[in-house]
Symmetry: C2
Subunit: 125 residues, 2 copies
DNA sequence: CTGGATCCTTTATGATACTG
DNA sequence: CAGTATCATAAAGGATCCAG
């Protein structure tokens, strides 16, 4: 039995699922795997998300100690997001998701070009 | 570039994230990892979900070829859900989520008893 | 026991405009 | 550039009742 902020979990997998039970958080992590990024860059990477939702998700991830937020006092402002150590450790999870996605597409989808994301770089090491 | 039902994905990880972007599907998979189960048993395993939502999620997973639904013509009815081959292959994903959850709790949570879920059994092999 | 049907609430996300 | 604020919508989920 686990407790996090007075919330109870029967199993550690429930902890993970509870944190990443929305549409975007893991996608954000994915795009931070290879590099720290500015807000703008993340927004370009994940074009389908709105600015507001991205802001919300980044804040949630920061509160859960999964990403760092670093502010540079410049004009115009510069804010850089990066993975914390525990955030870095999500790489195996995303690596397996990446591999599973390929298998799923092989069986039930269609491949038109090559993988366009630089996944090899992201999940290496 | 991938296509699944006329939907376009830049990366295979996006396929996986798009399928499992809700609160319950991966939890259902988790509870099917060790065994086929009846509707009732799944509902007991995941007590927080309502009957309706469980029904919806099972249907979605079946449509995506991730679980099988087998109906036994008995009275009262008996329906058994199990993982398809591609569903089985989600085990590494959940295994990594399980491991990450433990690390996260070690850093930011509290362990009161032992793991109560039979995770060892689920993710072995 | 399984799960459809209906109605309702909550939460997530989006669109748009605005600011230091 | 990196947000905030506001308003609006859609989607997910819940409660309840009912039926084969």
């Amino acid at each position: 039995m686990y407790f996090i902020n007075n919330k109870e979990y029967k199993c550690s997998v429930a902890v993970t699922l509870d944190i990443f039970n929305d549409r975007w958080k893991l996608a954000v992590i994915w795009h931070l795997l290879d590099n720290s990024k500015r807000f703008k860059d993340l927004h370009e990477d994940i074009a389908e998300i709105t600015q507001k939702t991205l802001t919300v998700k980044l804040k949630e991830l920061e509160e859960k100690n999964i990403i760092n937020r670093e502010v540079f006092p410049e004009v115009p402002p510069k804010v850089v997001y990066s993975l914390t150590p525990i955030g870095e450790q999500l790489k195996p999870v995303l690596k397996e998701m990446y591999k599973w996605g390929i298998k799923y597409v092989e069986d039930y989808g269609e491949l038109t070009n090559d993988n366009l994301c630089d996944a090899e770089f992201k999940i290496s090491k």
